[in-house]
């Protein structure tokens, strides 16, 4: 893809990983996550603010705009850790999709854009991009919201992290073509829906003549949304990688200790081979995910391809890993009281979010000139 992408983790990235992991280990163990998902507050905003103190909310936001001045590669490392912990945090909606879209625009620090970025970076506020979570990056400019005389109206279903968002980044279509607005969440009616992924709240959002601040129009608005979605696809794959790693390592540990037939289950070759195959897939997933993170971090022209490749490959790996975790834990893996189901639901939902693998294969077909049979 790009010239020699760096597919390794830097020392700085590993340090960031370690600090995020230890904070999550303290504050986001799976038993706490499980308790949260049935409460009124699924999303842990207090934890989000603590992570923001580590710079996690604004990693890719320049320092002069209030961010950490790192890159999307670091964001991808954080995504891996959040996936590993099935953390109920507004990372995808706020730090990836909304921020990724906003960062594609130019703006001064004292503009609405600058203020928004600063408040997102500090963790003081969160945002989301007003699109159905299942939207693929090349789906075309969203048509769900219309502008008329500067007022925004429309209904968008299945929006990630909308229930807790303070700000909505709203792609809107009007008589003058595509536009991008910033809308206070208070202007919208947000209805939570029951989400398959217990740890990732979705909501239906309705705007009825809402006012907003215009950020961009035309080609600029379109390309910003596309950038946000491509960034999302790349970073979501990192999260899926983290999920898959949890599933593999937890299953390996379990099969080392669980005995049946007078021996550890992990000593049965049929199971060893399956876990070995999974390890091979996850190693490949890691390379593909690093490649995508590097491409979006450097705004490589091949970023759309790298992100589509990551989604097309890693979605399946993460789902398989989580399915194997359930199956190889036997009856206990089928219970609510064991964390495997949280990962199964996360992995399966991620495989639909931002386009299915099938959808991303079509994107690849277009980008690398492998047209369909006629």
């Amino acid at each position: 893809m790009s010239n020699d992408p760096d597919l390794l983790y830097s020392d700085v990235e590993e340090e960031l990983r370690a600090s995020v992991r230890s904070l999550l280990a303290d504050r986001c163990g799976w038993d706490r996550v499980l308790a949260r998902v049935e409460s009124d507050e699924v999303t842990d905003l207090a934890l989000w603010r603590s992570l923001a103190d580590l710079g996690v909310a604004g990693l890719a936001i320049p320092e002069e705009a209030g961010g950490a001045g790192a890159t999307l590669r670091e964001s991808a490392v954080v995504a891996e850790e959040l996936g590993r912990a099935v953390a109920p945090l507004p990372f995808l909606g706020s730090a990836v999709l909304a921020t990724g879209t906003l960062l594609a625009l130019d703006g001064r620090a004292d503009s609405p854009l600058g203020e928004a970025l600063a408040s997102l970076a500090s963790g003081e506020r969160t945002a989301t991009l007003l699109i159905p979570l299942a939207t693929a990056p090349d789906a075309g400019f969203p048509e769900g919201v219309r502008v008329e005389e500067g007022r925004l109206s429309g209904r968008v279903g299945g929006v990630v992290d909308a229930s807790t968002a303070d700000l909505l980044v709203v792609p809107a279509a009007g008589s003058e073509g595509p536009a991008l607005y910033l809308v206070e969440a208070g202007e919208a009616t947000v209805t939570t829906v029951v989400s398959l992924d217990l740890t990732r709240p979705l909501a239906d959002v309705e705007l009825a003549g809402a006012s907003g601040r215009l950020l961009a129009t035309g080609e600029q608005a379109e390309s910003a949304v596309r950038r946000g979605l491509v960034t999302g696809a790349a970073l979501l794959a990192a999260e899926q990688l983290g999920c898959a790693e949890w599933a593999l390592s937890t299953t390996v540990e379990y099969l080392k200790t669980r005995h049946q037939f007078g021996r550890p289950l992990g000593s049965f070759q049929a199971l060893k081979h399956r876990l070995a195959d999974l390890w091979v897939s996850i190693s490949q997933a890691r390379a593909v995910v690093r490649n995508a993170a590097s491409a979006v971090a450097s705004d490589d022209p091949e970023a759309p391809l790298a992100a589509a490749l990551a989604q097309a490959f890693v979605s399946g790996v993460a789902v398989t890993a989580a399915e194997e975790a359930v199956q190889l834990h036997g009856g206990i893996g089928f219970t609510w009281e064991h964390p495997a189901h949280l990962y199964l639901k996360r992995a399966k939902s991620c495989s639909i979010a931002l386009g299915t693998a099938d959808r991303h294969r079509l994107t690849i077909a277009r980008l690398v000139d492998l047209p369909a049979a006629r």
Binding site: A134, G157, G158, L196, L198, Q260, W336, E337, T356
Partner: protein
């Protein structure tokens, strides 16, 4: 095992006529459903392959489908029998094979009519795939047995009147030899049932604690120490009953997904089309295989072939429900209800695609995991050598726990 009724074993045509006569004499619209089923039992039309007097006619097992079809055609198929899966699919054939005449007389009819629900107290925390490792102890005390232990993943225990129960009666012999099989009264003192919640949010299954539960020796099924052999009969039948029911083309989950495909052109892509067609072909192959198996089974107990049906049933359900979510895209990201509750049974058609996906994960675990079924096919059908066993000739009490 079967006694032919006077006049010989009826054929399909004769059975159809009998069903028609029966329905004419017992109007399903006005007869109480339990009375209707009791009369059907008495007429030998409950399970025609059972002997006369026990709900059957000593006819070939394959003819049961003819009888069921005929009742359905006449609008007299029994309904709401989800809670009877264990009774009908597992307890009944085991009681038929190993029960005393008194036991058969006592248990089979209310089991069939649905007046008494059954559950299966087999699995334990330390004994799942390795069922023969189980440690629930039964100790003889005169004419009764005193049972202590813990069972787990017990579907329907909260509604059951009776359980089929496997226990350890002799810890001093190797594990397969020291087991004994009982019918356990779920209302007896010392039986405690606690719900266990599943990944779907609800609780079909339970933990069951048995503390000094007294079971009369007259409720023992099979010989003392012969529990493993009795349990094998139950398990072979369980696999057929989970994966082996007769069904029409597109009868299972594939029909639901095919319906979505036909109704919703906007969801179609070439890749999903290919995936759907592949699964359609496999589902149809699996359906015909089950149908062929059903035709092969004249009378007698299902063999290891039933394992193959259950294996493909589980895999197909999982793949089809996974595809269903992908096909639906954004709608696939939602669920209906996570609230903890006690369902009556599993009716996939009434639930959302997310439930199909999650519930079908249990299909490759319940009733023998897919891995264990592959071992059964490899060893008992193909005759491949078994794993080198470290636990076969050791007294149960000396096994590592």
């Amino acid at each position: 095992m079967t006694t032919a009724p006077t006049g010989g074993v009826p054929d399909a045509a004769a059975l159809r006529a009998r069903v028609a006569d029966f329905v004419a004499a017992h109007d399903p619209a006005t007869t109480d459903p339990i009375e209707f089923l009791a009369a059907r039992f008495d007429a030998g039309l409950a399970w025609v392959h059972f002997p006369e007097g026990l709900g059957g006619l000593g006819a070939p097992r394959a003819l049961q489908a003819v009888v069921d079809e005929e009742f359905a055609r006449l609008g007299a198929a029994p309904s709401g029998r989800e809670a009877l899966v264990i009774g009908l699919g597992m307890a009944a054939p085991t009681i038929l094979a190993f029960g005393t005449p008194e036991q058969q007389e006592r248990f089979l009819k209310p089991l069939y009519t649905g007046e008494e629900i059954w559950c299966q107290l087999f699995s334990e925390p330390g004994a799942g795939s390795d069922l023969a490792a189980l440690g629930t102890r039964a100790v003889r005390d005169g004419d009764t047995w005193v049972v202590n232990g813990q069972k787990v993943w017990t579907s329907l225990a909260h509604r059951a009147r009776w359980a089929i129960l496997v226990t350890r009666t002799d810890p001093d012999v190797p594990k397969h030899r020291g087991m004994t099989y009982f019918v356990c009264d779920m209302t007896a003192p010392g039986v405690e049932v606690r719900p266990l919640r599943q990944i779907t949010g609800e609780a079909e299954f339970n933990e069951v604690y048995l503390t000094d539960v007294r079971i009369p020796d007259s409720h023992r099924l099979g010989e003392v120490g012969d529990g493993w052999r009795v349990a094998q009969t139950t398990l072979m039948n369980e696999r057929v009953s989970i994966g082996g029911g007769a069904e029409p083309r597109e009868g299972g989950l594939i029909g639901l997904v095919a319906g979505i495909w036909r109704d919703r052109p906007e969801l179609r892509t070439p890749g999903l089309h290919d995936a759907l067609l592949r699964l359609w072909v496999e589902a149809e192959a699996a359906r015909l295989t089950k149908e062929r198996l059903r035709q092969q089974l004249a009378v007698g107990q299902p063999g290891p072939e039933g394992s193959a049906a259950k294996l493909s049933f589980a895999r197909l359900n999982q793949e089809i429900s996974g595809l269903e979510l992908e096909l639906l895209g954004g709608e696939g990201l939602t669920y209906d209800d996570w609230t903890f509750r006690r369902p009556d049974g599993v009716d996939l058609a009434k639930r959302v695609p997310g439930f199909h996906y999650l519930r079908s994960k249990g299909n490759s675990i319940e009733g023998g995991t897919s891995e264990i079924l592959r071992n059964i096919i490899a060893e008992r059908v193909l005759g491949l050598p078994g794993e080198i066993r470290v636990d076969k000739d050791v007294a149960w009490k000396d096994l590592p726990k």
